[in-house]
Structures are given as structure tokens and as C-alpha cells.
Amino acid sequence: MRRATIILAAALTLAAVGDPADRLADPVKEARARSLFRETRCVVCQGESIDDSDAPLAADLRRLVRAQVASGRTDGQIRGFLVARYGDFVLFRPPLSWTNLVLWVGPFLVALGGLALLITRERRPPAPPAAELSAEDEAKLARLAAGDDT
């Protein structure tokens, strides 16, 4: 509880977002940097993005990302750089890889599996019609009806 309080208190100092002084002059680039911030985990915080966090590491990462955006690197390159440095953990949206396959394929597999079940269920013939008796059974039935039980 104490820990949670401290974290919240840190978050509430609010110094982080914006870093008014550091902002990039080009609004398009700044917007790109901001959207990258939101995808990047502050690895020493708890479940916060570097966009939210007040931690010094988050501020460093913001500066780094802004510098890379300014120098014209693509979003993919910047994400690659972050992952190389901190691992997949740093991204809130982990990249598609063997480890993360379950995350990306699982939900859709569940949906497709359910749909497949629904379709096969419907292909199944509707309740089998009362089976017609074979000629042999007819004869047997006739015999039974006649009271000739053999």
C-alpha cells in the first residue's frame, strides 16, 4: 500500500508530460514522438508509459526518442532501438514473435475456433428422421403383431 501511494504521488507531481522545454518545434514530429511515448513502457515504473511517468529514466527516454524522431528515423527503427536496449518488455504492444504468438494469434484463434464449431454444428443433419424400417424389420414387426414370436 505504501508503495502504491508513493508511486501515485510521483505520478501526480505531473512534471513529466510535456517537458515544455524539450518539445520539438515541428508539430508533426512532436505528435509522432508523443504517440511513441504512449507505446513505451517506463521500465522502472509500474505499468506506466514514459508519457505518463515522472521517473528520471522516463525523462531520459523521452529525450532519446525525441532526438531520434528529430534526426529523421522511422517509428520502426526507434522501436527496434528501444527493444534492442530493453527487450520486448519496453513496448506496450509487443512485436509479433514466437514468444508472443499466443498474444497475437490466440484471441483470433478462439474466435475462429468458435465459428468453426458453430458451422460444423449447423452442417450436422437436423435430428435424424425416424429411421425407416428395413424389409427384414417390417417382416419381423408383422410377425410380432401377429403374435408369432420367434
Binding site: A4, L8, L12, L14, A15, G47, S49, V102, L103
Partner: protein
């Protein structure tokens, strides 16, 4: 003395719940109505005893009796009375007591309910009693809220100041009433599996309980979200945080359950699946409680965390859910499920809805537990908002497309072309809204426009369905008006709930796409731009509060036309006890929009320039829909619950659904 009385009552409750389970099961096995009657009596006794214990704890909090350890750790004599009382469920022990209170309240409600067949009822009371044994046992032996100090302190620690808030005082009771409401559905499912009968009649008994729990859970989650929105000061309303996900998972499953129970009730199909969802919904509720209370997952708002007892809770979860699913695996294959329906039919639409909700639940479940999955492999991992949005977004979009069609399709075999024709106006409205949003709102955002279009499609679609139902424009106006009142309330509940979902989607898409944000360090008299709005920091003063001192700013925001849009007083409170600081947000309603202003710490503005403050401001357009939509959904649930058929359902007993059922619902 009251604390001892309360503690004694809780131990009594534990013994009585043992009796409740034992008598009910034994009575059912021996076909002895006297024994099961005694079991029902025990269920009432458990409830009374737990209520006494709960009242004792609330009394201890209200009177600031610091000789009770729990009060000393979580309260303070200078707190306002309402937060003293809310403190009773602010701690781990208190929240478990609240949980047990709800559990036994539902238990006694089943015991008092009439109309359930004798065998099913006694087993349901028995299963509910077994849950009582587990949870009350945990409370009495591992988490007693009424323990005394031998050497009481003069003054208590305080409740986390963030939790001193009216929305949050009301949030746990609603949330727990929803979580624990699923226990009734769970007990009914287990009882039906033991009895070997899961049929349309059973689904009728399940639905009102599921509906009540779902509505309460919806309100609880909305209150929590609203609290996070204006109390955490981050401008957002949903963070995909483990604690939030923990409450979302049972909600998703309960939503699926509500829909599949309709199919089971009306058509006698999907019995096993409905049963599975009933067990799953309460399992996820327990998982939620475990995740929140154990601290296995780090969360920004996991309060009252205790890993040692988390293990015990995990054990309880394992026993309850394990036996539930084991019973399901053993008995479900025997359930008959013979109804057939065409690919285009209301059944199919509801099944697809269930499949999607199941997939979304899996996404949230796997995503939330992902760090735990990777841990044994020595890897660190975890997903966040962007992941969930990417996966859940498309899945929900499919569900949204189907909902209006599903409500219009007939059972068994639907007329796809006819439904498409009737939905043309809704499609036109959605298209128009999407195009207008894309063309007119600056800056252009395709995804947000699409989201708005989906929301409008849903709202317009359910309106089309409602118009069809009252035969608007096809019958005289008086006839339509008569139908509004005469048609079953359940149908109106459905309309409201779906419209609420549509409004929520519109708000969520619009707010996410076109939120304005600005942050700047301002001195008194300083100003900044917020999109076309203008934000000015007029003054800052220190204002004393009841148990804190606040540094309060006066901020004026003018809208693009130059008129005053908001005179806000955001503040930073420093609490006397503990010295914690909390930001209080200034919120101004501006139509459907909010203007949201937060003030940061005082800092030096520069050489000799005096003080300055970091001011952050947002314009959150259409955000009111995000909160009003879910409330409308809960209201829809409540209206459905007031349906005469829902109450009669408890009395009605039918082996199989007849061919002539109520018209489109």
C-alpha cells in the same frame, strides 16, 4: 465490546455456514425436506451473523475505536464521517468482510426465493453455503478484521487520501455486489449439474440473478473508471491496468452469459455453454479478487496488498473453480442439446456474439496474466493499452456490426434480406456520421471517425428495432403509444442497454481521437493555448481544508469564441496525516465535453521571477458519453429485471420451450 461481539458473530457465521452446506446436501441426498429447510434457516442465520460482524466493524470505524487493529491502520479521528465508514471496506480485511456480507446476503435471498424446484433449491443453498465456508473461513482464520490491539495507539494511520472520495466510497459495494452476484449463478449451475438438468426452466431462474449482478457490476466499473478519471489526474478513463482488467473479465463473461441464457431459455439450446459461462463468470470474479488482493501483478492502484494471504486466496479459488469445472467436465457431456437453427437466425447472432465476447475475455485474461506466463522462462513481459486496443478493437467492431441485425432476426430461421432492408436507415445514418466526422473535425482521423460511425450504427440500429416493435408509422400513433407501455419491459431494457453501448462507443472513439491537451509552466497571470481554447492561471492561494491544506489555483478557460468556458479551482492537497499530496482536478462540464485542469507543484520560475506552476489542461470531447453510456446499460438491466416475466419466471415451470413464445425481444 462491540468488536468482540462482532468477532464472535463471524465465528458463529462460519459454523452456521458449515451447517448450511451440510444440512442442505444431506437433506437433498436423503430426500428430507426438514433437513433442507433447516439448511435454508442456517443460510439466514449466516447472513444475520455476518451482518452483525459487519455492523460491528462499521461501528468501530465510525467511533474511531483504535484498539481495533484494522481501524488503527486504516482510519484517523480527523477524517470526515463518510470516509470513516467507507474505510470499513478500504482495507484487505474489510473488503473480504464486505465480500462475505454480499455472499451471505445472496445466499439468504436464494433461501427465501420461492418457485425453485425443491431439489435444485436445496443444492443451490448447499453450494452457496460451501462458498460461505471457504470465504468466511478465510476471513475468520487468516484475515480477521476485528482483532484488538493489547496496547492501542492514541491515533490511527489514515486511509490513503486518494481513496477519500465519494465515488470511491460507493465503488466497492457496487463492484462486490456485482462480483459476488455471480456466485448465485455459479451455485445454480453447480446445483443443476448435480441434478443433471440444465434446461429452459433453469435458464429462466438464472437470468434475473445474472442480470442483477451484471447491472451492479456495470455501475461498479463505471464508478471506478470515473474515479480514476478525475482523481488520478491523468486525463484518461481506462488504463488497461490489471486491477481494471480484473473487473472487466467477469463483466465480459457475464455479458456473454446473459445472451446465451436467452438462447437456452427461449430455444433450449446451448445449455452446456450457458452452464460453462455461469461457472466461468464467478471464477473470473474470484480471480479478480485474488489479483487485486495478492499483488502478484504490479498495478498502479492495487491497494491493500498482501502476498502471503494471496496464496490462501489462490487456494480458495482453486478449490471453488476446480470443483466447479470438474463437475462440469463430468456432467456436461450428458446434457442434451438438440435444437437446430439456420446460419441466419437470432440464435446464430447470439452465438457469434458469445464467441466474440469469449475471444475478448481471452485477450484480457492472457494479456493480464502475460507477465506471470513469461516469468518461469526468465523473461520479463507485459502488454498495455496499445495491445488491447489493437486486438479488442476489431473483435468488438464485428460484434457491433451484428448487434442491430441480431435484435431484428427471427428465431430459428431469419430473413437476412428483410433485416438488411430495415436497417438501411441505420446504415445511412452511420455512414453520414462517419463521413461528417472525417470531413469536418480537425485534425482528420480515420479511425476515430470509424469508431463514431460504429456507435451511431448501433444507436440507430436499436432505434430501428424499437420502431419496428411499436409499429411506428405502420400503425396509428395511438396504437404505437399503447405498444410502448404494453410491450414487455425486457425488450426496452435490451434497447436501452444496446443504445448505451453505442453511446459509449461514440464517446470513446471521439474522446480518444480528438482530445486536446496542453501543458506549460505558468506564473500567476500567465496563459497558454489549448487548441482553440485559451487557459489563464489567475491566482494561487493556500486554503485550509478539514484534514488537509490545499494550494488552490483559480484558472479561467475561454472557448474559441472568446466566451468564458470554465472557471476552475484545481488544487494540490497536502494531508496533515502522512503528509501525502493529492491533486484535485478542476472539471467543467461543457455540453458533452469536459474541460479538465490540473495544477502541479510550485516551482521556481527562474531568476527572481517568483513562483510558477505546471498547469496541464485537457478538453475531453464527448467524454460524458463514456460514463453515461454504461449507466444507461445498467439502467437497461434494471428495467429488464422489473419485467413481470422475469419475476414470474421464478414461479413458472416448464420442461421445454413451447413453440409460441413472446414476440421479438
Amino acid at each position: 465490546m462491540t468488536a468482540e461481539l462482532g468477532a464472535f458473530a463471524l465465528i458463529l457465521a462460519f459454523c452456521a455456514s458449515l451447517a448450511q452446506a451440510g444440512l442442505s446436501f444431506a437433506g437433498r441426498a436423503r430426500r428430507d425436506a426438514t433437513l433442507t429447510g433447516a439448511g435454508e434457516g442456517a443460510a439466514l442465520a449466516v447472513f444475520v451473523a455476518v451482518t452483525v460482524g459487519f455492523a460491528a466493524l462499521i461501528w468501530a470505524f465510525a467511533t474511531s475505536d483504535f484498539s481495533v487493529a484494522n481501524v488503527a491502520q486504516n482510519s484517523h479521528s480527523e477524517k470526515p464521517l463518510i470516509y470513516k465508514i467507507a474505510g470499513a471496506w478500504g482495507s484487505h480485511e474489510g473488503s473480504i468482510l464486505l465480500w462475505c456480507f454480499m455472499l451471505t446476503a445472496y445466499g439468504s435471498a436464494i433461501a427465501l426465493s420461492r418457485g425453485l424446484p425443491w431439489g435444485l433449491k436445496s443444492l443451490t443453498v448447499g453450494v452457496q453455503g460451501s462458498l460461505g465456508v471457504l470465504f468466511i473461513g478465510y476471513m475468520v482464520f487468516a484475515s480477521n478484521p476485528l482483532l484488538r490491539f493489547s496496547d492501542p495507539p492514541v491515533e490511527g494511520h489514515s486511509l490513503n487520501p486518494l481513496l477519500q472520495d465519494p465515488a470511491l466510497a460507493a465503488h466497492p459495494p457496487f463492484l462486490y455486489a456485482g462480483y459476488v452476484g455471480m456466485s448465485v449463478v455459479f451455485s445454480l449451475a453447480l446445483a443443476a449439474l448435480i441434478e443433471g438438468r440444465v434446461d429452459a426452466a433453469w435458464a429462466r431462474w438464472v437470468r434475473p440473478w445474472a442480470l442483477a449482478a451484471w447491472s451492479l457490476l456495470t455501475v461498479g466499473i463505471t464508478l471506478g473508471s470515473f474515479w480514476a478519471y478525475y482523481e488520478l489526474g491523468w486525463g484518461g478513463w481506462w488504463f488497461w491496468d490489471p486491477v481494471e482488467n480484473a473487473s472487466l473479465m467477469p463483466w465480459l463473461m457475464a455479458t456473454a452469459l446473459l445472451h446465451s441464457a436467452i438462447v437456452t431459455e427461449k430455444r433450449g439450446a446451448l445449455a452446456a455453454w450457458t452452464c460453462f459461462l455461469a461457472i466461468g463468470a464467478f471464477t473470473l470474479s474470484m480471480l479478480g479478487a485474488f489479483l487485486v488482493r495478492s499483488g502478484v501483478l504490479t498495478s498502479v492502484h492495487a491497494f491493500a496488498v498482501d502476498p502471503r494471504r494471496g496464496l490462501l486466496l489462490l487456494g480458495i479459488l482453486g478449490i471453488a473453480a476446480g470443483s466447479g469445472f470438474a463437475l462440469f467436465a463430468w456432467r456436461a457431456p450428458r446434457l442434451k442439446d438438440s435444437q437446430v437453427f439456420a446460419p441466419i437466425s437470432r440464435e446464430s447472432a447470439l452465438v457469434v456474439n458469445n464467441i466474440i465476447l469469449a475471444a475478448v475475455t481471452c485477450t484480457v485474461l492472457v494479456g493480464t496474466l502475460w507477465p506471470l506466463v513469461l516469468e518461469p522462462f526468465g523473461k520479463q513481459g507485459g502488454v498495455g493499452g496499445p495491445y488491447y486496443n489493437t486486438v479488442v478493437g476489431p473483435l468488438m467492431a464485428i460484434a457491433f456490426l451484428i448487434i442491430p441485425a441480431g435484435t431484428l432476426l427471427a428465431w430459428k430461421r431469419g430473413d437476412a434480406l428483410g433485416v438488411a432492408q430495415r436497417l438501411l436507415p441505420a446504415a445511412a445514418a452511420a455512414l453520414a456520421a462517419g463521413v461528417l466526422a472525417y470531413a469536418l473535425v480537425e485534425p482528420r482521423r480515420a479511425l476515430a471517425s470509424l469508431g463514431v460511425a460504429f456507435g451511431v450504427w448501433l444507436v440507430a440500429g436499436v432505434l430501428v428495432e424499437a420502431a419496428t416493435r411499436i409499429r411506428l408509422a405502420r400503425a396509428p400513433l395511438a396504437e404505437s403509444a399503447r405498444r410502448i407501455v404494453a410491450l414487455p419491459r425486457g425488450a426496452w431494457g435490451m434497447t436501452l442497454a444496446h443504445a448505451g453501448l453505442g453511446l459509449f462507443a461514440m464517446g470513446a472513439a471521439y474522446e480518444t481521437g480528438w482530445r486536446l491537451e496542453a501543458a506549460q509552466v505558468l506564473a500567476e497571470g500567465g496563459a497558454m493555448d489549448l487548441g482553440a481554447y485559451h487557459v489563464r492561471l489567475d491566482s494561487v492561494a493556500v486554503v485550509p481544508g478539514p484534514n488537509y491544506d490545499a494550494e488552490q489555483a483559480v484558472i479561467t478557460v475561454t472557448d474559441p469564441s472568446g466566451r468564458l468556458a470554465c472557471l476552475g479551482r484545481p488544487s494540490r492537497r497536502t494531508y496533515d496525516v502522512g503528509g501525502e499530496t493529492v491533486s484535485k482536478v478542476a472539471l467543467c462540464l461543457h455540453g458533452l465535453d469536459d474541460i479538465y485542469v490540473v495544477i502541479g507543484e510550485r516551482r521556481a520560475a527562474g531568476a527572481g521571477a517568483g513562483s510558477a506552476w505546471l498547469v496541464r489542461a485537457w478538453v475531453n470531447p464527448w467524454i460524458r458519453l463514456v460514463f453515461c453510456g454504461p449507466l444507461l446499460m445498467a439502467l437497461g438491466g434494471a428495467i429488464s429485471l422489473s419485467d413481470r416475466r422475469m419475476r414470474l419466471a421464478v414461479g413458472a415451470r416448464r420442461a421445454a420451450p413451447g413453440p409460441s413464445l413472446a414476440p421479438a425481444e
